[in-house]
Subunit: 338 residues, 2 copies
């Protein structure tokens, strides 16, 4: 029989940058799986920037988390009890739910993971929603051509690292923007971007001019704010902005003004937003493309793993401040496959 | 032999809203057509918002007009002398150049006009660049589906009137924004839009809420400024902004901030600019679609005709202030076909 369940629940809506007191720990009995469901014991919880929107109560594409409810999140775990023939005890699966140790989830929504194919944690990062976000945004909106210049913000992050590597594989000149010398070094030396620009390193515009002598054709936007402001005037005619996220503004109490849109006409720019979950049906296509590249080491990734559910709030706050270095995961229990 | 040529030239770059003193009249001998060229006597000169960009000296998609140079513009006229077998004296043609009475232009760049097909002046409006702008913007970017709500700003203008009528023909609910009761009445009663909203009539946001109970799916942007600000937050998920022009901001000394782009992610918006001249090769496709509709009266248009080249500067300044009502043309000489 499983131990008791623990959850991180929303205590109150954050005002600006979340603080630990916005979260609380709740304990209780693990949920009972219904017919067709399995009880999953979480091994890894994914922390992602989109969660800031969910706990804000703001009208968005998804229902906000209610006060007292468990915070939304994706989990990789191991099946403890199965009430569906598709899963047996001990199977590894992606699709668990929430900042909690145990969840009961419909077997139909779970993806069985084979540890021999790739480390199971990658289903939350390079082979999961973040990697697929990079893939969809580039394929559908960015569409870089060989020789074009692609700029990726949050370049060492879970989405940015994949976006840049895929653009590079398509023949583009790829410039990453990241915060701090360590991340910039990683983006150039490990991920193989053509250049990295430190947004904490002074005059960002001048640094972009040096890194992008032919202007910018595609901007993969994860950050917003001052970075967006520096990139926007450097876009070339027919430039595309892949609007994936604007993490630097998620804690703003009221929206900052954006760039004047006159240049959108003059330069025939395209600025387009997308939400990866609209494209769920393409997960197979993405995984078929990316899993072999991860196995062969051509598609590199980095994980930033924090231990213990109770550290999730602090880790999440750090994510919003750019303190993580690579895909941020919370280890909920030891991974038997490592 | 033709009389002397007269031209309106750029005397100095306007500072904000142009004033008559920014322009000057020059006189001289008409140009000599070279082999392959014709000498065209202008009958109608088209005045269009894009010209404000050309005389500003601002970096854009086209070379700015130099000081002392004739102001750019498209002309419908009659051939006075031809040095190309494709045109004979007396032929009507579209493709003359500049705010002037005569121009020598390559025959290859001229379109012969048949007055029996449609009034020749329409080659500058409903069947010309403005009409085609509406067509391309809707077909390539707006792509309204039946039942969607399309909002068109500058709805009684040369582009807006066509955009709205085409969207209506495609089954959309079409709401026009125009300045003043007369234009709004015209947009509803003559052009057949479902509703018209007066942007001078008080609370634009509330008026849009009433006119667009299901939100806005496509916004055909001709105006910018306060109108853009009112439309933007009312866009539905997957909304599209067809970025055609922002006339209300063309005289700004420095660009105003635009909308925060966070909603572009959340709502998966697409904001895309275009310039009709990039699509020159599709003029035949457009004209084949639109000319029969003009002839049958299904595609309505209205011209605002000012007499005499020397009135072009005042008329152009009025255009930038929204004083024209319909496609603004300058009559350079009597139209023998009317």
């Amino acid at each position: 029989m499983p131990e008791r369940n623990r959850q991180v629940v929303l205590k109150r809506r954050p005002n600006g940058m979340p603080v630990p007191e916005d979260f609380a720990i709740a304990e209780g009995a693990p949920p009972e799986p219904q017919p067709g469901e399995v009880l999953l014991r979480g091994l890894y919880l994914s922390l992602d920037p989109y969660m800031r929107g969910r706990i804000s109560g703001q009208r968005s594409y998804a229902r906000p988390t209610g006060i007292g409810e468990v915070i939304e999140g994706r989990v990789v775990g191991q099946v403890v009890r199965s009430r569906d023939p598709a899963f047996g005890e001990g199977d590894y699966a992606f699709g668990g739910y929430g900042w909690q140790l145990y969840s009961a989830v419909p077997a139909s929504g779970l993806l069985k993971l084979d540890p021999a194919e790739a480390p199971i944690s990658t289903a939350l990062g390079v082979l999961g929603m973040p990697g697929m976000t990079a893939y969809i945004g580039l394929a559908d909106i960015g569409q870089p051509k060989a020789g074009e210049t692609v700029v990726v913000s949050a370049a060492s992050g879970a989405v940015g690292a994949v976006a840049g590597q895929l653009a590079k594989a398509q023949g583009a000149r790829v410039v990453g923007i990241a915060g701090g010398a360590d991340k910039c070094r990683y983006v150039e030396a490990e991920l193989g971007f053509d250049a990295a620009v430190d947004h904490r390193g002074g005059d960002l515009g001048a640094a972009l001019d040096r890194a992008c002598p032919n202007g910018i054709d595609v901007y993969f936007e994860n950050v917003g704010g001052a970075v967006q402001e520096a990139v926007f005037p450097r876009l070339n005619d027919f430039g595309r902005i892949v609007m994936c996220g604007m993490i630097s503004e998620y804690n703003d109490a009221s929206p900052r003004p954006g760039p004047n849109l006159g240049a959108v006409v003059r330069k025939r720019l395209k600025i387009q937003g997308f939400i990866v979950s609209d494209q769920r049906q393409r997960y197979g296509e993405f995984r078929a493309m990316a899993a072999p590249l991860v196995r062969s080491g051509q598609l590199k990734y980095r994980e930033d793993i924090v231990d213990g559910l109770e550290r999730a709030p602090d880790a999440f706050i750090g994510l919003l401040q750019g303190h993580n270095f690579g895909k941020l995961l919370v280890r909920l229990a030891d991974d038997p496959t490592r």
